[in-house]
Symmetry: C2
Subunit: 684 residues, 2 copies
């Protein structure tokens, strides 16, 4: 196995003996390595408990059950969408925090859904057999159909919710079977000022002082769900240097990408999205200065954009580390050479790298059209999103399940419906800003003479058209959306809602771009990666972790700091170090509740801590678990070096950052006086 | 010579026979090549007329004299600063245009200055001898002092205004001697909607329809200056394919940069500045939506920022053209090999490329501090600019001339004074936006724990400190600035103006960073480039053009279009093609005067045109001149491919874009009824 870890992580070449690399699937967890290195005996029972106690938040986070009554621990920033949708100018839960004194006070998180993994089943052979010998394009069509059919069969036979998962970029195909919780409610959230203390400047930094926690509860039949598989707290947390585990849903890593694809990210894709989002940040920040209400409603989208910017900026820096990039190239040359040395593999796999280069070149020919018109970069904002979902749902429901766009299959439609019909506040000015901005970018990138730009804008300016669509549509009304959802395709056609008509007017062309992308880019690229995965397994064996796919993984490591330019960073912070950082101004401002509590909390209380576990975005809200299966922390971030983890794992520097149990418990006790929750979680 | 042109322009390797490459100094103009290729006999008299008739606009543009009474033709966008400073909410010259019926109606351009080149003198041997055998740092100090002394001696003896110029990145040193016009006034400007028709979307595009012209006048002793050396109009313009010349001040090319420096631009510098300016654009655009007045005052800075963004984005694309970049690398390898093959050169020059790499690495260690604190990226806005100029002028005047910062020597102080004491409107909200934005970026890039950030912000937020400084200072009052300008260093120290105190509080540290940059980055890099220039001259000869330095150059070429992805682009546009592009909305909106005139103007009137002349930013406002020395156009832009001209000249695609004389004359005649100006220019 050591050989393949070295391949995956170019840095591991020098420090592999110390590397705690890998986001492991449960069926392939490296128990022997962990036992040898840390003396920890990870049993199947330990893994099974983790599987049941660590749900996915379908909005893009991880979480854990912390009581038998459906209580869920996750990050404040993972609950932010729920917090914002329950806020108003009069009742600002983001600024003021929230605590439900009784279950009946808990408020609905209308866009949230939790999924607990119950079982997995490999179907690689079935998928490969279905596409055997076909052309790229045909294989792509059939692969998609085969997977959709497998998912539907799975739901029909298992009674569970099923999803298909491609691991190793198509080296393996799996069915993942979930129990779903659609009724999620907010129980507790601290004030943003302490949850995200330090704001964007401190994001991805450590030392750190963030109470980035919240508590949710899942309900079944309007009652708190029964969750016997939950984690018990180890209130004192980890000992220095102790082995630790993180279970959760790392969203996406790109460690198996070819050099050509990494280069595309570095030189084309990341700069493009960075520039776009940085300009949007400027728009948001300036808009937020216009009134208190503008400030309030901008915080959620601004936070998302700023996090994106920081991540992408650091990923760009990582990809510009020429020494590391050169090691990636060397590793790829080595794999290619090994393929060439094996005549059978050479015939089957040899052209894969060139196929990917060719797919990228093909994409460049229509990428901007595809981005703006199909991916939707021209149509920011929730109102257009509703319109497209309603239009596509109506269109796709007319088709046989396996011919639909994947997100509109029978298995996927409930989530589309939940997101479309959630009763969330819509802010007209913000919608206009977003739509106007994205029309503007469309005109900038496609050019004023593009067919799409002429068709969409006509003689209107981006601001004028955005204003017209946003003020004219009634899709801000959930009752109107519900009517449209229940309506059929013909009824939509004759609607006079301008946003629906707008979404209809570009849908045919958007779908053509989607199909072209699937056929000319995705299909050859998928097939090429399938071949490369085969080469990997043949040459290095299968004892290796796949890239992250927002499915359950467990990472291992230890509670240690790192050396930052010659200085050792202590792996935890204490509350005593927080107060001197307070300036009184956003983002270094404390809420009154904390200023009041300063006197009462012990100086040495641990606040945030780090460890060597290999995580990435999507792991937010993951529990940190000790070798005995107890909860010892709450992942909410990585240090600045963790951002390069998208491409390689640097065990010397990459650290995950978590909230310490001591501060979570003490805050609930003495700042928020939530004794009923502590009791529910079995804490004295 | 062919050999060296090939070295300079990597593209020339394949198409050198057609390349009209080069921005030539007058003493080295390739008369023989032009005669051989175009049959045009460029005489010394032709060059001498051009020298006297083509002044520099010291704000960063080019221009030409077009009457014997000091009338100056340049671009609208070159006069924009003057137009904006003479505008107000009640009288918006940018939106409404301007025409002085009589000389006494002409309004002052307080920040403009024109310089006419009278003579040049090479002083390379003198400078090289002065620094012979010194360490990098010492040589840097002595070189700077030697040049400052030479400039002062030149002014004392010639009675002209002198500047030192380093050509070939230090391969040659020259004195340039100018006649100065400090009193510049606005005579005519069309409405922005026609001057910049198509706005940012059309910027750097062709076909194009912009009347990007304005007329200024230089005065001496409050009377129109006598300018016998001026250009006569050839009203019908060039014939298709005819030879053409552009005379002006190309600002900066980087065709002699080493691969290491190009890589630094591509991977570090350009992305950094792009991201910053794109966010600022977002701020400006959003601010402009808040009121009509906000919209009006934002247009000038927004235009500047958008032009910057477009240029840098396309330069980044150019540097990501791997094939071209590889040719640059090959050319550098070839030069290095030639150096290695010559033992004497190898000893003297061999380490130069590594020295530049080392200087870049050194710079990375303190670049962000230097950018923000000394270059001023933390302190956007005119008010801080005034404060720093006042503080530095007072400090530098206490020193001997040759020990001063170059921009505060006796030769340079008049320009600082002019810019500092110009009576221009200051917009408090815009200043606060700019300063707040740049404090914010400082905190983002240096981090909240940086010594500078802590010292500058203390416990204040960026917005709060900006607001405090902008509202507290009296530097918006020209009388206050005049008092400070006349005051000495001690008086400044005791001032209670918060912006002056703020500028004082960071000046020592800023100067330390400046000195560190000069010693550790600039000095070794300058010396290395001096060596590389020596290698170039030794191996390829001296018959070659230097990189652009905002000094007088002449380019040659012909009035032809290009082939854009299989379609031939006709090298001119007509007015008939303009009207169908009008949408009525910014930026595709025509002023009323033009809508009225639509009927009266002949359809076939030529509007804008292109040619193969090699130009770059700074050439804006340059006259296009025919082989007989007549004015046949007004450069205002390049096509999209021209942007890569910073690094190499692609003669197949790179085109300069100019306003055609037909439209300039017809607009003055039938839209603006400026017959007195036509008469003054000798046009019937």
């Amino acid at each position: 196995m050591q050989k393949i870890v070295q391949f995956l992580s170019v840095l591991a070449m020098s420090v592999s003996a110390f590397a705690d690399e890998g986001m492991w699937t449960l069926d392939n967890f490296p128990k022997t390595t962990v036992a040898a290195k840390y003396g920890a005996n990870i049993t199947d029972a330990w893994l099974e408990t983790v599987k049941r106690a660590v749900p996915r938040m379908d909005s893009g986070c991880s979480a854990s059950f912390v009581s038998s009554n459906g209580l869920v621990l996750t990050n404040h920033h993972c609950a932010l969408s729920c917090i914002a949708q329950n806020s108003s100018a009069d009742s600002d839960l983001e600024a003021d925090g929230f605590l439900a004194a009784r279950p009946e006070d808990e408020v609905s998180c209308q866009t949230d859904r939790l999924s607990v993994l119950m079982a997995t089943e490999e179907i690689t052979d079935h998928v490969i057999a279905a596409t055997d010998g076909m052309s790229d394009q045909k294989a792509g069509d059939i692969r998609r159909q085969t997977l959709k059919r497998a998912v539907q069969d799975c739901e029909d036979t298992s009674g569970l919710k099923c999803e298909s998962v491609a691991l190793y970029k198509g080296g393996q195909y799996w069915l993942y079977k979930y129990k779903r919780y659609d009724d999620v409610r907010l129980v507790f959230a601290p004030e943003s000022d302490i949850a995200a203390f330090g704001g964007d400047p401190d994001n991805f930094n450590f030392p750190r002082w963030c109470l980035d926690m919240s508590l949710l509860r899942v309900y079944e039949n309007d009652q708190p769900a029964s969750t016997p598989n939950h984690l018990e707290w180890r209130t004192e947390g980890l000992d220095p240097g102790e082995v630790m585990f993180v279970a959760g849903r790392p969203g996406r890593t790109q460690r198996l990408l070819t050099v050509a694809d990494l280069k595309y990210l570095r030189d084309t894709s990341i700069p493009h999205w960075l520039l776009r989002n940085v300009e949007l940040r400027g728009r948001y920040i300036q808009y937020a200065t216009t009134s208190d209400e503008a400030y309030r409603i901008t915080q959620e989208p601004l936070l998302r954009v700023e996090n994106f910017i920081k991540v992408q900026r650091k990923r760009l820096d990582a990809l510009h580390n020429d020494a590391l990039f050169e090691q990636k190239m060397a590793a790829e040359r080595a794999l290619k050479a090994a393929v060439e040395a094996n005549p059978e593999l050479a015939t089957e796999v040899g052209s894969a790298w060139d196929d990917i280069v060719r797919a990228n070149q093909t994409y460049l020919g229509f990428r901007d059209d595809h981005y703006f018109i199909e991916v939707g970069a021209a149509f920011n904002g929730r109102l257009f999103g509703y319109a497209r979902s309603l239009v596509r749902a109506a269109a796709e429901r007319q088709k046989p399940n396996e011919e639909r766009i994947e997100s509109y299959t029978e298995a996927s439609l409930p989530r589309v419906k939940q997101l479309t019909l959630a009763d969330r506040p819509i802010y007209t000015e913000l919608e206009t800003l977003q739509l106007s901005f994205s029309f503007d970018k469309m005109r900038e990138f496609l050019g004023p003479d593009s067919m799409f730009v002429r068709q969409i804008l006509g003689k209107k300016s981006p601001a004028e058209l955005a204003e017209e669509l946003v003020s004219g549509t009634h899709l801000d009304d959930v009752a109107v959306r519900t009517d449209f959802w229940d309506a059929d395709w013909e009824a939509l056609q004759t609607s006079n809602d301008p946003m629906i008509q707008f979404a209809l007017s570009i849908d045919r062309q958007a779908r053509e771009l989607r199909k072209r992308y699937e056929d000319e880019v995705e299909a050859p690229s998928d097939l090429a990666y399938e071949k490369i995965a085969k080469a990997l397994f043949t040459i290095y064996g299968t004892d290796v972790y796949p890239d992250a796919t927002f499915t359950l993984r467990v990472s291992y490591g230890s509670h240690v700091g790192w050396n930052e330019k010659g200085s050792d960073v202590r792996p935890w912070t204490t509350i005593a170090e927080l107060f001197p950082r307070v300036t009184g101004d956003d983002p270094f401002r404390l809420p009154a509740s904390w200023l009041d509590a300063e006197e009462t909390m012990a100086d040495e209380l641990k606040f945030n801590f780090v460890g060597t576990t290999d995580i990435i975005g999507g792991n937010s809200g993951s529990p940190v678990i000790d070798k005995d299966g107890r909860l010892v922390g709450l992942i909410f971030d990585g240090n600045i070096h963790s951002i390069s983890g998208a491409y390689w794992f640097d065990s010397e520097l990459n650290r995950s950052v978590a909230v310490h149990p001591e501060i979570m418990i003490e805050a609930l006790r003495s700042v928020y006086e939530a004794d009923h929750l502590l009791e529910e979680m079995g804490i004295k």
